[in-house]
């Protein structure tokens, strides 16, 4: 009976909001990388600008996402010891390998994608022009076709690496088979598929808002394919989540009554998760996707919903006592270590880096930037 028995004395929810945010960031990173790469590879000219925005988002998240688990360490200053004394059987070392791999791929892709812009911008005398000049690495005669081939190569490589990076987060949970709700491989699929939903949603949101700020019009028809893909992935996500919950109930393990208590305690998160995914699934096939406001609403709901998915993956499992005596509630602080302010500051950092990268490389490709006379170069 809830509240009537003692849980194990050392039991607390060890990984609260920062790890939820970390899984959320890595999901958007993977989803945005995949969607940007696919748009580039398929040569969808109408979505060229969206691809660029998605790439800026990926680059920003490459720096912000690892900060969440780093802040979560009780001794963050010793984080550098992980590569120095790496135990290769640890999932955290696997994170380092995958992050380094994805970082290298994204840096190479960015270099060839933005090199021609850097050369153009280096002609300017301003601060960002000087930074762009450094980033050209002394390249002057650029062949856009050659660069395009290299970008395509690294875009192809980035897809599996990003998917591995996202699935790794699921792997981190599935290896903890002593924790009820985590010891199932379905989590890998849950994480991977919801990554696609949030990645596409976030890229659309950043793109549409960016265009609106610049006063440029976006036609809903342009975004038809990404919205449909997002809706289909929301459907897959619902199916996989449904499979997970039904199988947990069907197996009816000794921990089931505790699982049920944890589900009840996080009812709001589950409600947002299921309701939001249904909304995105159905909305993508209705008139919602035919208006820009509808598309913004769908994208915003997809991002919020996936945060709820991450919450339901990370938090309820940790609430369950390993002694089988009950559940504990997460202690979420506003200020301090693992507090909500840390999460908010990470979001601010994400936006700052996003705008910084735009300032350096340009929101639009250099050949499309209006000149002083108002003409496109």
């Amino acid at each position: 009976m809830e509240g009537m028995s003692y849980t194990l004395p050392n039991h607390i929810v060890e990984w609260p909001v920062l790890i939820v945010t970390y899984t959320f960031f890595t999901g958007i990173l993977a989803g945005a990388t995949v969607i940007s790469a696919l748009v580039y590879l398929f040569g969808l000219k109408k979505l060229e600008q969206m691809e660029r925005v998605g790439h800026f988002l990926c680059l920003s998240l490459m720096f912000v996402a690892p900060l969440a688990p780093l802040f979560d360490l009780t001794v963050p200053i010793r984080g550098f010891m992980v590569p120095l004394n790496a135990n290769f059987t640890s999932p955290i070392v696997l994170f380092f390998i995958l992050w380094t791999g994805l970082f290298a791929v994204m840096i190479l892709k960015s270099y060839f994608l933005f090199r021609r812009d850097f050369v153009e911008r280096a002609k300017g005398e301003d601060f960002f022009g000087k930074i762009a000049g450094i980033l050209t690495f002394n390249a002057k005669n650029i062949n856009p076709e050659e660069d395009d081939k290299k970008v395509k190569l690294w875009a192809k490589v980035s897809i599996p690496v990003a998917m591995f990076f996202s699935a790794y987060v699921g792997f981190l949970m599935t290896t903890m088979h002593s924790v009820p709700l985590w010891g199932t491989s379905i989590l890998l699929l849950v994480i991977l598929i919801s990554s696609m939903v949030s990645g596409i949603g976030a890229v659309i949101l950043f793109y549409v808002v960016g265009q609106r700020i610049l006063g440029e019009k976006v036609e809903p028809e342009e975004l038809k394919i990404p919205v449909l893909v997002m809706s289909v992935f929301a459907g897959f996500d619902l199916f996989v989540l449904f499979t997970e919950y039904v199988s947990e109930w069907y197996w009816n393990t000794a921990e089931w009554h505790l699982i049920a208590m944890a589900l009840k305690a996080n009812f709001l998160a589950y409600l947002i998760e299921i309701g939001g995914l249904f909304y995105v699934l159905i909305g993508g096939f209705t008139s919602l996707r035919k208006s820009m406001n509808g598309i913004i609403r769908l994208s915003a709901v997809s991002v919020i919903t996936v945060y709820a998915v991450r919450w339901t993956v990370v938090i309820p499992a940790q609430m369950i006592d390993k002694g089988g005596r009950g559940i504990v509630y997460p202690h979420i602080k506003l200020i301090g270590r693992e507090g909500i302010t840390e999460v908010i500051s990470l979001f601010f950092l994400l936006f700052f880096l996003f705008f910084l990268f735009i300032a350096i490389a340009g929101y639009k490709p250099a050949h499309e930037t209006p000149t002083e006379g108002g003409n496109i170069k």
Partner: protein
């Protein structure tokens, strides 16, 4: 017609036996290989085990207090504790439903195949191969708490003073100087026992030979080294859902009589055997 049916059933029966035999042989070959791949066999002379006789524990918590004093454990966290289990059962003689209360001491199991060591990214948690103790390097721990998530027994905690992971060490500073762990020393009823099974004259052998031995959560495959006496045939408690799971066998040679001993520790069965 009947003969044909008989032949068919005999054939399918033999086929099933053949498939079963092949599957059993294959699994018995591959399972030990898989287990040994994780951790090398112990190299040192000592092989410490902890034996808790639940029948004798009166729940006085002297062990908890002694541990707190010995290790200077901060408030709010525990290296060991004593759980109260209320178990309902039907008296076979009278048919009445009765309740009995057990005091079950819990502490780090210093597993043979410790999941906490496997997941530690910087080798801050390690298994000392000399005596099999699972210990912590406090100056190396980064505080990721992955070991706590991986531990099936919930014995690890973040030390609120040092802000790194801490755990029960079976009082390694005492046992390496010939003493017993503090909790064993203060136990008034000898419910807690500690010994070295590498030493054939150790009194711990008597307990192991004479009693039914159980471990907690054998289905996790961690091969724990805290052995319990008095938990057999207990139903309705959550010490693991895999009561049918047989724990991988342990085999060693008793130097006293030169015979090979083995006991498979599973939750509900006395598997101690003396091989002839």
């Amino acid at each position: 017609m009947n003969q044909v049916q008989k032949k068919t059933s005999r054939k399918s029966f033999l086929k099933a036996i053949g498939v079963g035999a092949v599957a059993t042989c294959t699994s018995s070959v591959f399972k030990p290989l898989r287990a040994e791949r994780n951790f090398p066999p112990q190299k040192g002379k000592n092989r410490y085990v902890f034996v808790v006789d639940v029948r004798k524990c009166i729940g006085c918590d002297a062990c908890v207090a002694a541990c707190k004093a010995e290790r200077n454990t901060p408030l709010g966290v525990f290296n060991t504790w004593v759980e109260k289990w209320e178990i309902g059962f039907t008296d076979s003689a009278t048919g009445e439903t009765k309740v009995k209360v057990l005091n079950v001491p819990k502490l780090c199991n210093h597993c043979e195949n410790p999941p906490c060591v496997k997941v530690c990214p910087v080798y801050a948690t390690f298994r000392d191969e000399k005596d099999g103790l699972v210990l912590q390097r406090y100056d190396r721990c980064i505080g990721c708490r992955l070991c706590k998530q991986a531990c099936p027994y919930g014995v690890r905690y973040i030390d609120p003073v040092m802000m790194v992971m801490n755990k029960c060490t079976w009082c390694d500073h005492r046992i390496r100087n010939g003493l017993k762990p503090a909790c064993v020393d203060v136990c008034p009823t000898d419910a807690r026992n500690f010994g070295d099974i590498a030493n054939s004259n150790d009194p711990i052998w008597e307990l192991l030979k004479e009693n039914s031995i159980q471990v907690l959560k054998p289905e996790e495959g961690a091969k724990p080294r805290v052995f319990y006496i008095g938990l057999e045939n207990i139903e309705g408690i959550h010490i693991g859902s895999g009561s049918e799971t047989v724990h991988p066998g342990e085999v060693w040679t008793d130097t006293a009589d030169g015979k090979v001993y083995t006991y498979n520790v599973s939750m509900q069965h006395n598997k101690y055997k003396k091989e002839k």
